[in-house]
């Protein structure tokens, strides 16, 4: 592979323009819907905005435009719909924080009851609205196998309310409610939930994870999900420069590093069983992912906590073993 010039330096990803037309990203198509239109109020480098743009445009493409979106309260809702403006170029409904899944179930039921099954339903929310306050509604949607694709944009804390910890916040991360003080600074070990595996435990047709570093993979998973019926779940790792204390320009890099460190396994599961996992092509120690983020700053430096970094490395190693995603294992 030496001597080949790649467009994304250091990523080993082949640039979009080198691909055949049919394999190019939906975003490469000037005729795309632009479901989340420009002019919204997301922060610079917002991983959620990037992910949502790819997810919704891909879903619109997959359904030939026959798509309805339901949104939980959160950053995505707030930055996209400050009355009287809206960035959404598709039918879009926001009800409450906790009920996006149930509201989407209701939309799907209505479309079925009124003979409009050609219209598909996408629900989306952040990690707080998904793994915490919205979990009961989401679990209900899963167990009933309602015909909805639910997408969680995971930025690992309650960013819209000012960066408080959620059930998706990783250990040691500093948030406004897991301060970097005390014997165990940042978020405690032994807390948090693994939402994709919770989703898999419902034996729903499709569960997948993705990051904003692998956008072709993200789009492909949306297309796969939209080719199926029943309850489907997509969990997208979405960096938040504001909440993480990272550079806006680093969002994609951090999303790449989290996968390569093993801290965020990227995989697909069908009917409760893992069917594919993205191999780690150039493994990095967790430090490389942690160091550029101020939320982990207390782990480094003279008063750093190499012991906590080692425990995070153990979590990464466990993921790598669980999903068999190193090059050696494959």
């Amino acid at each position: 592979m030496t001597g080949v010039k790649f467009y994304q330096v250091g990523s080993r990803a082949v640039g979009n323009r080198l691909l055949p037309l049919a394999e190019r990203s939906v975003q490469a198509d000037p005729e795309r819907r632009n479901s989340l239109n420009s002019g919204h109020r997301a922060c610079q480098g917002c991983g959620e905005a990037l992910a949502a743009r790819y997810v919704v445009d891909a879903a619109v493409r997959a359904t030939a435009g026959r798509l309805v979106a339901v949104n939980a309260t959160g950053c995505l809702e707030v930055f996209s719909t400050p009355f009287p403006e809206s960035s959404w170029q598709l039918p879009w409904l926001h009800s409450l924080f906790a009920n996006a899944a149930s509201t989407a179930s209701g939309v799907a039921a209505a479309l079925h009851a009124t003979g409009r099954e050609d219209i598909r339903v996408l629900a989306q929310g952040g990690d707080g609205g998904t793994v915490d306050i919205g979990l009961a509604c989401l679990s209900g949607m899963f167990e009933r196998n309602d015909d909805v694709l639910y997408v969680c944009y995971d930025n690992q804390a309650y960013m819209n309310t000012g960066v408080q910890r959620s059930g998706a916040t990783p250990p040691t991360a500093r948030t406004a409610t897991s301060e970097a003080v005390g014997a165990e600074p940042g978020n405690r070990f032994g807390t948090g939930k693994d939402m994709p595996r919770i989703a898999m435990a419902h034996d729903i047709p499709y569960v997948a994870t993705a990051t904003v570093a692998e956008l072709h993979d993200l789009e492909a998973k949306v297309f796969t999900a939209m080719s199926m019926h029943g309850a489907r779940y997509l969990h997208v790792f979405s960096p938040c420069p504001l909440g993480w204390g990272s550079l806006p320009a680093d969002s994609v890099r951090l999303a790449r590093l989290v996968q390569r460190s093993g801290l965020f396994p990227v995989f697909e599961a069908r009917d409760g069983t893992v069917t594919a996992a993205m191999p780690i092509r150039a493994r990095v120690p967790v430090e490389e992912y942690l160091r550029p983020q101020r939320r982990f700053a207390h782990l480094f430096g003279a008063d750093g906590r190499p012991d906590l970094i080692a425990r995070l490395q153990e979590l990464a190693d466990r993921n790598i073993a669980r999903y068999g995603i190193t090059e050696e294992q494959r």
Binding site: S86, P91, S102, G106, E143
Partner: protein, 413 residues
């Protein structure tokens, strides 16, 4: 044709004839018979393409109804008590989004102490959520109010709650006349939403509104809700002409010279009977519509009253009681004396004898500003004394029951 029917069955069969398209359901006593019956009909294919969705909570039930309604389906659910409170956030949301969801509330007390029996604490706690609230005095009302509720909701784009006393009505068998499908069709044509989630005409529903417009949004929502009063009158007139059963925001008052008792719900039957035996000394004003509050009709009906007694099946701890506050506002500037009588809490029967004694007390001029009907003064006095001697935190129910339940017949620790 009159049939001997349980209230819940009659409501379910009537709702079925209203052609709901999505019914999210979650069980809670004493509402459950209604959704059970609808679920059976849906499963048997008697409701066309209607989707009966067994959700995991009342919050999800109302949320699914919101989604279904926004997607253009006629949506219905039923709940009670804790379930109504569990969906509180979604109730405000449905109203704010202007979605014509219809819901039966089988009125039941709110805990703690947990209590499954009837009063109005649940619906009254949600009086400000922006829904129309209609109260059935009997099961025939309960039946007839449902087609009108759907028609009203869809006409003014506001959700409607039909409040039916739990057990007293939901589980009572009465000879009832169900409206025919044709009677209902006449008042309730197919649902044609004005704004719907549709890829051909994409709209954003549920945007964020800031200080620059929120007050105006609230003002207009109030106007919209107040439109329920004339709209209900018109719809009820049309329905009454076909069925011979005329409903109105307030029931035809039992006229009186001086004293009028205001009430809503199933206590009205007993009350009207007791009042009619006073030879015109005591009148009755029954409220069918509580939100929007029919202030003009109430004021007109109470024009000549010197003493207005409001029977409350709920109260506001630390203040007064909800209906009294509204009646007082409607009578502002008049000389009428207003008494609040809190009665029938947590299923305690409001008997003819108790109402008779109450009216006698009022007649003697001895009725105070706030009275708890049938309050066991001995028990309350002992507990107040005990608390004075040895104050402690925690529920009072256990202490009270030691006095109320004779030894050996059960104990609560």
């Amino acid at each position: 044709m009159r049939e001997q029917l349980e209230g819940s069955q009659a409501i379910a069969r009537t709702v079925a004839r209203c052609r709901p398209e999505v019914v999210p359901a979650y069980p809670i006593t004493p509402q459950t018979h209604i959704v059970e019956a609808l679920g059976k009909m849906a499963k048997a294919g008697e409701l066309g393409r209607c989707q009966f969705v067994t959700v995991e909570s009342e919050f999800a039930a109302m949320s699914a109804a919101i989604g279904a309604s926004a997607a253009g389906a006629r949506s219905y659910t039923a709940t009670a008590s804790q379930g109504l409170l569990y969906m509180a956030e979604a109730l405000f949301n449905a109203a704010g989004l202007g979605l014509p969801v219809v819901m039966t509330v089988a009125n039941r007390a709110i805990g703690a102490p947990i209590n499954i029996w009837n009063d109005h604490s649940d619906a009254m706690s949600q009086r400000d959520c922006g829904w129309v609230q209609l109260y059935a005095a009997d099961n025939q009302d309960a039946v007839d109010l449902h087609p009108l509720a759907f028609a009203l909701a869809e006409r003014i784009s506001v959700p409607v709650m039909v409040c039916v006393d739990g057990f007293v009505l939901t589980h009572a068998f009465e000879p009832l006349e169900l409206p025919s499908a044709a009677d209902i069709e006449a008042v309730l044509p197919g649902y044609e939403p004005r704004q719907v989630l549709d890829p051909d005409e994409p709209v954003t529903i549920g945007a964020m509104v800031g200080p620059e417009a929120f007050t105006e949004v609230r003002f207009l929502a109030d106007r919209q809700l107040r439109g329920a009063d004339p709209a209900f009158a018109e719809l009820a007139r049309g329905y009454g002409e076909r069925t011979g059963r005329l409903l109105a925001a307030v029931r035809p008052p039992v006229p009186a010279a001086h004293t009028v008792v205001v009430a809503l719900g199933s206590v009205l039957g007993t009350l009207e009977e007791v009042a009619s035996a006073t030879d015109g000394a005591v009148g009755v004003l029954g409220l069918v519509m509580y939100r929007p509050f029919p202030a003009d009709a109430v004021r007109a009906a109470l024009r000549d009253a010197d003493h207005v007694i409001v029977l409350e099946r709920a109260f506001s701890p630390g203040a007064s009681a909800p209906v009294t506050a509204d009646v007082r506002a409607a009578l502002a500037g008049t000389q009428a004396r207003i008494s609040t009588v809190v009665c029938g809490l947590g299923g305690r029967p409001v008997t003819r004898a108790a109402l008779h004694d109450l009216l006698a007390t009022a007649d003697r001029g001895e009725l105070g500003e706030v009275t708890f009907l049938d309050l066991n003064d001995d028990v309350v006095g002992r507990e107040l004394y005990r608390q004075q001697q040895a104050p402690r935190t925690g529920p009072t129910a256990a202490n009270l029951l030691r006095d109320v339940v004779p030894a050996g017949r059960g104990s609560v620790r």
